[in-house]
């Protein structure tokens, strides 16, 4: 399969019931590094990620990957803010994407076990019903279920929003490894420390638009817009 980057987003928007959730957005994303999406609650971070991933229908504009859209979608995975726990065991949850791709059951479960252990969900946890997992374990499961697809591009929507410091560190370590192995990450967070630790570039989102898109160092040293500056200072942004 050919690579999906660079991707260019032109004038793309998403509407719901007449209201504009996202856009219009114009973006060029290269194939390297980690992009962190920040912005106040309700700014449209989730909607932007879902739009880029292609699970929100465009109301206008276009998203052009370097390969056909269908191929591009196969190379992506998404970790939702509230991970979906399928009514199955942990290992079967992680194996599910492989089963969809017609990988034989035993093979899929074996691979899922490897991923589960890599992510810290091994041992007894494997056979437990996924719905009984704690918040941190759910995020790990969702991450393993995304990584088993070996995505070229991984979206994460506030993966550490409900986690304590230790669980957050564990997830960050995994993400750093994943990024180092060449996976492109696009992740939203409201944890500015985390944004600084992981970001190569920052997308500051406000009112459904990308208000600022800069390299991380430049952004954190001095944002170009007043709103971004206010946001970094912890002020209310209108």
């Amino acid at each position: 399969m050919s690579d999906l980057f660079p991707v260019s987003v032109r004038n793309a928007s998403v509407r719901r019931r007449g209201k504009v959730l996202v856009g219009p957005v114009d973006l060029q994303l290269g194939g390297q590094g980690t992009s962190i999406v920040i912005g106040p609650n309700g700014a449209g971070k989730t909607s932007l990620l879902k739009m880029l991933h292609g699970i929100l229908r465009l109301g206008g504009g276009q998203i052009s990957w370097a390969c056909p859209t269908e191929q591009a979608q196969r190379q992506q995975a998404f970790v939702f803010q509230t991970p979906v726990m399928m009514r199955r065991s942990v290992v079967e949850n992680i194996a599910y994407p492989l089963r969809l791709n017609k990988v034989a059951r035993q093979e899929a479960l074996a691979e899922a076990t490897i991923w589960a252990e890599r992510i810290g969900l091994g041992g007894d946890a494997l056979q437990r019903p996924a719905v009984l997992l704690s918040g941190g374990e759910r995020q790990k499961l969702a991450l393993a279920r995304a990584l088993i697809r070996k995505p070229r591009l991984l979206f994460l929507d506030e993966p550490c929003a409900s986690l304590d410091g230790r669980a957050t560190r564990e997830i960050e370590e995994i993400l750093t490894e994943v990024a180092a192995s060449g996976t492109r990450l696009i992740m939203s967070t409201h944890n500015m420390g985390q944004a600084q630790r992981l970001a190569d570039e920052v997308l500051f989102v406000l009112h459904g638009k990308v208000a600022e898109f800069s390299p991380a160092e430049a952004f954190f040293a001095g944002p170009q817009t007043d709103q971004a500056r206010a946001f970094l200072n912890g002020d209310i942004v209108e």
Binding site: H53, I55, V84, M86, R88, P97, P129, L132
Partner: protein
């Protein structure tokens, strides 16, 4: 007293009638599930044009009086009717057909409600993973299996206790189409309360077993076990 005696001695007639009831109802349930469950899943995952209309029709059909279903099936299967040549009237097959028509809307409606909830939970994930339509339906049917079992049990409860339709299309013929409910109606009419009560106990026991199972399924579901 006599009724209990019939039960403990496993009276031949009583056993025969009970087994026929179970055979007819379980057959009808199997056919009904084959139709209703995939239909329910399809209604949950697909936004097609007739979707709302189909759901409305299903809900309306749920309120259909069984006697009317019996009448329609009777007309269809009677010698002069369109399917008269099959000679199915007054056979267990005719009873199965009537029961299928009665419980498909019920099973489909109950199943659809829970599969719709499951789908709203799974929607983003399954779209994100590029699951095909067929894969989505299979996933819902498998992961929703407890709720579907509950729907099936409700269908069983409705069918095993039904009397109007199967009386009309089956004819309550001894050793051929007599089942629990029609036999109770007959024995009560004849004044043989011992037999009627004995059959009634069996029917009640089946109904209680079904309701206990539904209750138990609901409990294990909410506790996340399966």
């Amino acid at each position: 007293m006599q009724a209990a005696w019939l039960l403990v001695t496993l009276d031949a007639d009583l056993v025969e009638i009970t087994l026929r009831s179970l055979r007819v109802t379980l057959s009808a349930l199997a056919v009904a599930c084959l139709i209703a469950l995939p239909l329910a899943a399809l209604l949950a995952v697909r936004r097609f044009r007739m979707r709302r209309a189909t759901i409305a029709v299903l809900n309306a059909l749920m309120g259909l009086p069984p006697v009317v279903v019996g009448l329609v099936v009777y007309v269809m299967l009677s010698r002069a009717g369109p399917f008269g040549v099959l000679g199915l009237l007054f056979t267990p097959t005719a009873m199965i057909i009537a029961q299928v028509i009665i419980i498909v809307p019920l099973v489909a409606s109950i199943a659809h409600q829970s599969l719709r909830d499951l789908w709203s939970d799974y929607h983003d994930l399954l779209i994100s993973l590029n699951a095909t339509q067929f894969q989505r339906i299979c996933t819902l049917l498998w992961d929703g299996r407890r709720a579907l079992l509950t729907a099936a049990l409700a269908g069983f409860g409705r069918a095993i206790g039904e009397v109007g339709a199967i009386m009309i299309v089956g004819g309550n013929i001894d050793h051929a189409t007599r089942v629990l409910t029609t036999a109770i109606a007959l024995e009560t009419g004849k004044g043989d309360f011992a037999m009627a009560l004995g059959l009634g106990f069996v029917l009640i026991a089946l109904a209680v077993a079904v309701n206990l199972s539904i209750h138990w399924l609901g409990k294990t579901e909410s506790e996340g076990r399966w």
